[in-house]
Amino acid sequence: MNIKKLAVAGLGAVAALSGLVPTEALAQNEQFIPMLVYRTGPYAPSGIPVANGFRDYYTLVNNRDGGINGVKIAFEECETQYNTKLGVECYEKLKNSGPTGASLVNPYSTGITYQLIPKASVDKVPILSMGYGQTAAADGRVFEWVFNFPTTYWSQASAFVRYVAQQEGGLDKLKGKKIAHVHHNSAYGKEANPTLEALSKKYGFKLTLLAVDHPGQEQKATWLQVRRLRPDWIFMSGWGVMNQVAIKEAAAIQFKMDHFVGNWWSGSDADVVPAASAAAGYKSATFHGAGDQYQIHKEIIKYVYNGNYAKAKENNLGEVLYNRGLVNAMFGVEAIRTAMSKYGNKPMTGEQVRWGLENLNVTDARLAELGMKGFTRPVQVSCADHETGGPIIIQQWNGKEWNMVSDWIPTMRDVVRPMIERTAAEYAKENNIQPRSCT
């Protein structure tokens, strides 16, 4: 019976403790940035490098510059496992931390972004979903608090079609070609479908949509369909373990690897390494450089890892998704800096950072100052356009590293922007949002 007493006592203790709410004392002159990360679960291979990139960039800014204009960055990680429910819990936990609350949130999951979009305007926390999330959020008149520059899924899909056209010898050559879209069966994976469908009508290529269910460890059926279909090109929207499996399966059916193009979430080192040499030739879209040879990496090794290159490599330095974490953290930090130029050098509130994001102008010269010359493209955000529709570049895995194999490919603004505006207008109507004027 003793053990039962223990059980009862244990339950009592749990009940008593659950009444406690986590509170934390933070210094007053700090800018708090919440970090929604996933270092465990089926998406960890993608989540770890991203999280390390963010952490290292913030640490770099703190160690090298003493913070943003003297205001140190405080950041706290919260594990989401790429699960929307845990993501919301994390957001609720962290949104009021620090002296001014969360300055901006990078959900790093399209599912979580969808959850947070309605909350953003109420909680006054801007969302920076860099190249993911809801594409229609690019219309800043409806989605005041959401930013998805430098480019979106729809723009990316249009640039992919343009790339295929370049390879085939012109947009008119697309007629009759077979393109398959292998996508994660979720809000994220489906994002590119409307654009691809519209372009398929416009240019006459035959589009097949192949959904892979979460988490994507089992794809035999999908690739059997691919084998039967024999598409000329495959576009993939995958994430986490799904990418590795898809690349292995494609290699197993001996699909031409250089006709297999992933989106920018399906082209990191963790995706291709497991398939070893079979993955050679696989391509993916991206919007920033690969490798660790940029100035920014040298500074990270110096200021974050005290010159210990091996330790930095252990923490994914130079991997594609690590670099993406750097770019994203940089945009966030620059937005805070922009906000400070108007409101003064003190911790910014979410509202002030929103202004900073909307007036963000990262020029080539600024990128050079940040040690990111040639690493990514300049971005200028505006009130109406939260996307900027920036170009993408195609990288190819040669079995050892990623190399750029194309020029910057412009997106099809003429096709994508009207679709964005239409979808945003529908969203506004459904949710009783009065679009603001941006003139």
Binding site: A7, V21, V88, H214
Partner: protein
């Protein structure tokens, strides 16, 4: 000493048939309700309400639903997530089609839709039992989540397949959508759960509940004494799915605000099943205790290192949480295989004899 029935005499049938025949129990329940209705909304932080208490209420609702089916009628179902999805998607469809309809009415109507779907997927229960039935209901889970993903009509043809709760009011208060405060949403969820828990409690004490238990304990004997297994089992499926449907609608409208089918995936079905098993089969109280254990303990474990002032890597913390939580489940199942409800009962018996146990 405090908790004794001696000297309490019941002089009417009403008193004898009361849900809680002992005054101390009634006072205790009153106190719990008072705290839930008055104290908690006043003192809780938004995080506490939004991330801890509202999910607890949602899962309590789903667990009551499954407990009616599994604990009382003895029909093993793994389709809970699917039935919740029906509730969520139908509520969304109805409220976007008729924006003027009261959202509570929409909740109830979508519960009825879920009940209808539950009846359809309950038909196999007339022929197959136990684990085989579990597999048949698993089909419901997969079919429904596939359907809500595939048929664009269910999410109004929006490109991402995500459904978002539009703002709706009840008596002039915004209860859904981003503008609704956590307190309002908590209160709506609490009222729904209180009302439906009371209905469930009375249901299982009456003729319907007795017929379910008869079928559960021995279906042939039940049939011989005059219960029709056909109606009884299907009624159990219908009412259980109704509860799950309401829980699904609450998930979308009161808790998350926007969902895709992944929010109602198979692991939700398992989670609710574990709640029922750990809480106690065939007990409404058990549904609450089980839901509390499965939803609150992980949140507590996540925050424990910070409460204790420990600095810990995020991934290590998550791994520890999963391990400790798993260990706790096994521990409690070994200590009391009949669940928390039974543990609660034992505690009450001990309390009767306290401080002079024999």
């Amino acid at each position: 000493m405090l908790y004794r029935e001696s000297g309490q005499f019941k002089t009417s049938y009403e008193a004898d048939q009361a849900i809680l025949p002992i005054p101390q129990d009634r006072w205790f329940l009153m106190a719990v309700l008072l705290i839930a209705y008055l104290v908690i909304p006043a003192v809780s932080s938004e995080y506490m309400l939004q991330a801890v208490l509202i999910p607890f209420l949602v899962f309590a609702m789903a667990a009551i639903g499954l407990n009616l089916l599994l604990g009382y009628a003895g029909q093993l179902s793994l389709g809970t997530g699917g039935f919740m999805a029906v509730g969520a998607y139908m509520t969304y469809k109805m409220t976007t089609a008729w924006p003027d309809m009261d959202i509570i009415v929409v909740f109830l109507l979508s519960g009825l839709c879920a009940a209808g779907v539950g009846i359809i997927f309950g038909i196999p229960s007339l022929r197959i039992k136990g684990f085989y039935l579990a597999v048949a209901t698993l089909a419901a889970q997969f079919f429904l989540s596939w359907m809500f993903n595939k048929v664009e009509w269910f999410y109004n043809y929006n490109p991402s397949g995500t459904i978002t709760a539009p703002p709706r009011t009840v008596f002039g208060h915004v209860v859904t959508g981003p503008e609704a405060t956590a307190e309002t949403r908590y209160m709506v969820a609490l009222i729904l759960v209180t009302v439906f828990a009371l209905i469930a409690k009375n249901l299982v004490r009456g003729r319907v509940g007795r017929s379910w238990m008869a079928i559960r304990d021995m279906d042939i004997a039940a049939e011989i004494i005059g219960f029709k297994p056909y109606q009884t089992k299907l009624l159990a499926f219908a009412i259980s799915s109704f509860y799950c449907g309401i829980a699904g609608a609450m998930t979308l409208f009161l808790w998350l605000g926007s969902v895709e089918t992944e929010a109602f995936a198979i692991n939700i079905s398992f989670q609710v099943l574990f709640m029922v098993i750990i809480g106690g089969l065939g007990s409404i109280l058990g549904s609450f205790l089980g839901a509390a254990f499965i939803t609150l303990v992980p949140v507590l474990l996540t925050n424990a290192p910070q409460l204790a002032g420990l600095q810990m890597a995020t991934d290590l913390q998550k791994h520890l949480e999963v391990m400790i939580f798993g260990g706790l489940i096994i521990f409690f199942l070994i200590v009391e295989p009949h669940g928390f409800a039974r543990l609660w009962q034992i505690t009450k018996e001990k309390l009767r004899r306290w401080p002079f146990p024999y």
